[in-house]
Structure formats: structure tokens, C-alpha cells
């Protein structure tokens, strides 16, 4: 039972990160590694506003998400957009993005230090006991937020104007431009939305297990693995991929050894790349390079 709850929580986290990144990758189609920095910086903003400036959490949380979104947008406006103007290869953008991540991560450790920081406010409490398993309030919130994100993202892409425009840009950028949809504007919105979800994921993790300047990257990597396994553009694929990853990792750690948690995740990735390179959903996306 305990292991089930552990799996559920990990799966929820992977799912939020996967969705946040899928939105950006779906539309912009390049590797935005600095996304990991957005995940990391959000809880640090919470720390800044709530503990260093003394604001209440209800003000600090939205502010932190807003600032993290701003960071995502700044990277898009001032780094990626100028690069796209020169029609560079996605590979070049990948390298630029990697450099950006290293710079941002080092800025975080310069400002706040490398040591663990905590944004938790209450005392550590014994978790709620459900059938002999323990679950804490923040874990329940994580699972609930993840479910909400999942459902609202499905609705967004199927029923709203912006969502459908994003799909249009994703399937054929030039054609969408001809039909009067500005691809740059749509990518801008994708970055805003993706960064907001990333910030939420980062804050949830930090509330549970505190933060260091490197927490974003491993979470981001698992998100990317989930996207590759699940296939881009399929919500159910992402859900199944996150669930598969979390289950394999936790069961592997439980029955074999926790040393193997990372190895198992990448083993699954390799198996999928060999046998089902387009992911669970099997959808072949057009025009994807890299």
C-alpha cells in the first residue's frame, strides 16, 4: 500500500513536468533545457518572497509563479527568438539553451548558496494513515494538482482557441502563418503556460523535499524521458509513461536495490527508443528534427 502511494506521488510529479515541457516542445520543437532552471528558480522565488521579504504564502506563491513565467518568457524573447530569426538548426538552440541553464543555475547558487534551503512553514507531522500507509498533506496536494493539470490541459488543447492555434502551429508552422496565426505569438504563449506548470512542479517538490540549486535538472530529465516514452502530442501517452516510469523505479528500488532507480528509467527509455521510437501513442509527428 505504501509503495502504491509512493508511486502515485512520483507519477504525479513526472506528469506535471512532462505536460509543462510537452506544451513548449509541441509548439516550438526545440530542446529548451533552461526549462530545468525555471523549475528550480520557482521555489527560490517563494523563499525570497515568503521568508526574506516576509510576505504571506498566499501572496508569495502566485508572485513566484509569475516571476518564473517571466523568466521563461525572457529566455524565449531574448535568446530563442533572435536565434530563430537567423534560421539556425535546432541543435544550435539546444547548445544555447544548455549554456543558459548552466548560467542560471550558477546565478541561483551565487545568490542563495549551494546548501539546502527549506520553504516549509509548518512542523513536520506524521502523515495521514490510510490502510497502514502514510501520506502527507503536500503529497495529497501534489496528486490533486497533477490531476487538475492533466484534465485542464486536455480541455485547453481540444476546446480553446489558443489551444487549437497551438496545434495548428505544431503541425505546420508555415501554413499556420499563412492562415494569419502568428507562430511567434503562439510560441510566446506556449512558453508562458509551460513555465507556469514547471514553476508549480518545482514548488511542490520543494515543499516536500526542500531545495538545492540542482533539483530542477533531474526532474526535467525524467519529464523528457516520459515525453519520449509517451509520445508528443498525446495526453494519455504522457500519463501512461509517467505511471510506467514511476512504477518501474519504485518497484525496482523495492525489490532489487535503490542504486538502480536511475538505471531502470533509462533502460526503459532505451527499450522504447529501439522498439517504439515514437512512443506509447505511436503517433508520428511531422517535421520533428533532433
Amino acid at each position: 500500500m505504501q509503495i502504491l502511494i509512493n508511486i502515485l506521488q512520483t507519477c504525479s510529479l513526472y506528469l506535471i513536468v512532462a505536460i509543462s515541457y510537452a506544451i513548449i516542445y509541441f509548439v516550438a520543437k526545440f530542446f529548451h533545457i533552461a526549462h530545468a532552471a525555471v523549475i528550480t528558480i520557482a521555489p527560490y522565488f517563494v523563499f525570497l518572497f515568503s521568508q526574506q521579504c516576509g510576505l504571506s504564502l498566499f501572496v508569495a506563491l502566485p508572485l513566484a509563479i509569475l516571476f518564473a513565467v517571466l523568466l521563461g518568457l525572457i529566455t524565449e524573447q531574448f535568446v530563442y527568438k533572435p536565434l530563430r530569426k537567423y534560421n539556425v538548426q535546432p541543435f544550435t538552440i539546444l547548445i544555447a539553451s544548455l549554456g543558459l541553464y548552466v548560467v542560471l543555475q550558477n546565478i541561483i547558487s551565487m545568490v542563495w548558496g549551494d546548501a539546502t534551503l527549506s520553504i516549509r512553514v509548518s512542523e513536520v507531522k506524521i502523515g495521514l494513515n490510510i490502510f497502514g500507509a502514510y501520506i502527507t498533506a503536500i503529497q495529497i496536494i501534489t496528486i490533486a494538482v497533477s490531476a487538475t493539470t492533466f484534465i485542464s490541459s486536455i480541455i485547453f488543447f481540444s476546446y480553446t482557441n489558443l489551444g487549437m492555434n497551438m496545434r495548428a502551429v505544431s503541425s505546420n508552422t508555415e501554413l499556420a502563418n499563412i492562415f494569419g496565426i502568428s507562430s511567434n505569438q503562439i510560441i510566446f504563449w506556449a512558453f508562458a503556460l509551460g513555465s507556469a506548470f514547471a514553476a508549480i512542479a518545482g514548488i511542490l517538490v520543494a515543499f516536500d523535499t526542500d531545495m538545492r540549486p540542482t533539483i530542477g535538472f533531474s526532474l526535467f530529465l525524467y519529464g523528457v524521458v516520459a515525453i519520449i516514452i509517451g509520445g508528443i502530442g498525446s495526453h494519455w501517452g504522457l500519463l501512461f509513461a509517467s505511471l510506467l516510469l514511476a512504477t518501474a523505479q519504485h518497484l525496482g528500488a523495492y525489490y532489487i536495490d535503490s542504486k538502480w532507480m536511475d538505471a531502470i528509467a533509462y533502460l526503459i527509455l532505451i527499450i522504447f527508443l529501439i522498439f517504439k521510437p515514437f512512443g506509447f501513442s505511436g503517433q508520428r509527428l511531422k517535421k520533428i528534427e533532433l
Binding site: 505504501q2 509503495i3 539546502t116 513536520v124 517538490v205 526542500d210 528500488a253
Partner: protein, 364 residues
């Protein structure tokens, strides 16, 4: 033409610089420490301690030889450490090298020191793998010693069924092995052994397994950052029995992360010496660096003094220095008496048992 003049001036400058070096009579000592990277906090405090000691040695009348320390940043990595050690030993030909904060760095440097007859002294590295009959000395106690102390403590408390959770690093694995050896020799039974990776943030699976095995207590060999989260998650899982930690759990990071979940946790660590020499050192250190010294700064301070002693009592070659250190009478420094055994270890330092009560470490 202009270029040629520049080259000539440049050449002259180099020659003069060389001349200056030759006329100085101070003895140069190499120091390979992590001044940037994950272990930078250790390296920087070690440098502070050494610098403080050297500034005193060079104005004192007791030591005829003046010392100059040449620092190189090994970034906490074995690769850089090897490069630096090669340079120190074969190009600079320094007789003594201070170094290695983490045991990983020191283990990488030691073979080069042995081949070139260089004495390697570390203020921080505690891995038992370094205890060999060779050119290595350290002023901090070996982990083998800590493992013995922990096993004896558990025996005194009549805890014979204890779970073990350790971090998969050079330090964690060697302390784990030593502990298992001693604990089982004392008649203890290890109910379950679980590992974690450095930098991991979620230990729920390991903790689930440990709680299911139902031990009488848990001994956890991990760093402070991981330790804090482990304690928090143990409490969230309703674990109420005793928890024991390694010496590095005496870090502020652990308390910050664990908060009230750290209450009642036991640990052992090398005792902070409180004799006159330490009080004096603490006062000078605070005046110079405007912060409190930790035990590693004090160890490093002693290292510099021990080197000064060795240099003024020998001809300054690596072989002679080694011979002197092995038969040196106890050196009375800021961390108490330092006397090396045949393996270059220092087992004259005391350990202290602590418990966390109301957010502070209380001596037991």
C-alpha cells in the same frame, strides 16, 4: 621592429622574475584543496586555518625556516588532484604537500606521493583506505575509529538488531564496511542494508523497506543534506524509534531540512578540543576572518604547525620529514595532542556523543 622590442622586454621580465625566485630562502609547500565546487566550503576553511598558522610561523623566532604555501584548486575531483600532485612532485619538487579534503582526492594523489618520496598530510580525509604504511599522514581521526565507537555505543545500549542506510560514495561505503565489521564482531545483527545515491531527494522506498524489516534502531551514514530529508520522511512515516547518524550530521543543513523531525537523533563526531591552544586559535581566527572556525580549520592550522616543526628539526627532504613525523612526540595544538601511529593515523583525538534536543546538539 616594435614587436621585437616587446618580445625582448617580455623576455627580460621573465628572466628577472626567475632571479627573484632564486634569491628567496623560504621553503615552499604545495596544497591541493577544493577551493571551488561541492567541497569548496571545506577547502576554503582549511586554507584559512593554514594561512593563519603560516602568518604566525613566519614572524616567530622559534622556527628558523620560513614557509610559503602554494595553493592549487583541485575542484574536489580526483582527476585534477592527480594533475596537481604530479606538478608538485615532479616539476616543483616540493617535499611536503597538504591535501585532499575528500578522501577521493587524497586516494588519487597518494600513489604519486609514494613514488616521489613526498609526504602527504591531510587535515580532513577520513577514509580507512588511506591507512597504509606509506607517505600519508592525517591529523583527523580515521573513520575506522568512528565505526568502532558507534558499534560500541550500540552495544552499550543493548541494541543488537539495527538497520543500516548508507550513501553510495567513497566515504559512505568505507564507513559502512568498517561499521559492519565491528558491529557484527560485537554480536550485533544488521536487519537490513539500504543504500542511496549522493544528491538523491526522495528516500520513501528505502524507508518503507526499513520500517517493514522492523529494526530496533536505524544507523544512517549520509551527508547532512540527505540526512535532513531522511529524518523528515522517517517522521512522516510514523517511525518513532532511535536514529543514529554519522559525524557529518552535525551540519546546520540537517537541522534546517529536518526541523523538529531531528529531535532525539543521536550521533558521534570528533570532539572539539577546548584547551588553551584552541581558545587562542579561535580568538585569532575570529579576529582575522570574522567567522567562527570549525574543526577542519583547526585541523588545518595544526597541520601547518606540524610541518614547521618537522622542517626545523630535519634537513627538509621528504624522507627525513617522514621519519621525523613517525617518531614525533605528541604535538600540542588547537585540536589537542596529535601523535601519529605507524600507519600515519592519529588516534589520540577524542570522539563525543551527541543528541539533538530543542534544535541544538547536546553532549551526552
Amino acid at each position: 621592429m616594435k614587436k621585437t622590442v616587446y618580445y625582448l622586454v617580455f623576455l627580460m621580465l621573465i628572466t628577472f622574475a626567475g632571479c627573484n625566485n632564486n634569491t628567496s630562502t623560504t621553503i615552499k609547500i604545495g596544497a591541493s584543496l577544493p577551493l571551488t565546487g561541492d567541497f569548496a566550503s571545506y577547502g576554503k576553511r582549511a586554507r584559512n586555518g593554514i594561512d593563519l598558522a603560516v602568518s604566525e610561523i613566519n614572524i616567530s623566532k622559534k622556527y628558523t625556516d620560513k614557509i610559503e604555501i602554494v595553493y592549487q584548486d583541485n575542484k574536489g575531483g580526483p582527476k585534477e588532484s592527480v594533475n596537481i600532485m604530479n606538478m608538485f612532485a615532479t616539476i616543483n619538487k616540493y617535499p611536503i604537500v597538504i591535501g585532499g579534503a575528500s578522501s577521493m582526492e587524497t586516494l588519487a594523489m597518494l600513489p604519486i606521493a609514494n613514488v616521489n618520496d613526498v609526504v602527504l598530510i591531510s587535515p580532513i580525509s577520513s577514509s580507512p583506505d588511506l591507512s597504509m604504511n606509506d607517505n600519508f599522514f592525517r591529523v583527523c581521526p580515521s573513520d575506522a575509529y568512528q565505526a568502532v565507537m558507534m558499534a560500541n555505543w550500540l552495544k552499550e545500549l543493548k541494541l543488537s538488531n539495527v538497520a543500516l542506510l548508507y550513501v553510495n560514495s567513497n566515504w559512505g561505503v568505507s564507513l559502512k564496511n568498517q561499521y559492519i565489521k565491528n558491529f557484527e564482531a560485537n554480536g550485533g545483527k544488521i536487519s537490513i542494508i539500504e543504500s542511496m545515491n549522493e544528491g538523491e531527494r526522495d528516500f520513501k522506498t528505502q524507508i518503507s523497506k526499513i520500517i517493514k524489516a522492523n529494526p530496533e534502531a536505524i544507523y544512517c551514514v549520509s551527508y547532512g543534506a540527505e540526512g535532513g530529508i531522511i529524518l523528515k520522511q522517517l517522521k512522516e512515516f510514523g517511525y518513532k524509534k532511535q536514529i543514529f547518524g554519522a559525524d557529518v550530521w552535525s551540519s546546520p543543513e540537517l537541522l534546517k531540512s529536518a526541523g523538529d523531525a531531528a529531535e532525539g537523533v543521536y550521533l558521534i563526531k570528533p570532539a572539539e578540543y577546548t584547551g588553551n591552544r584552541f581558545v587562542e586559535f579561535e580568538k585569532k581566527y575570529k579576529a582575522k576572518y570574522k567567522e567562527n572556525p570549525d574543526v577542519y580549520a583547526a585541523y588545518s592550522y595544526d597541520v601547518a604547525y606540524i610541518i614547521a616543526e618537522a622542517l626545523s628539526n630535519t634537513d627538509g627532504s621528504g624522507k627525513e620529514v617522514k621519519r621525523y613525523l613517525l617518531k614525533m612526540n605528541g604535538f600540542d595544538g588547537a585540536t589537542g595532542i596529535t601523535k601519529f601511529d605507524a600507519l600515519g593515523d592519529c588516534n589520540t583525538k577524542q570522539f563525543v556523543r551527541l543528541q539533538i534536543r530543542n534544535g541544538i546538539y547536546k553532549k551526552l
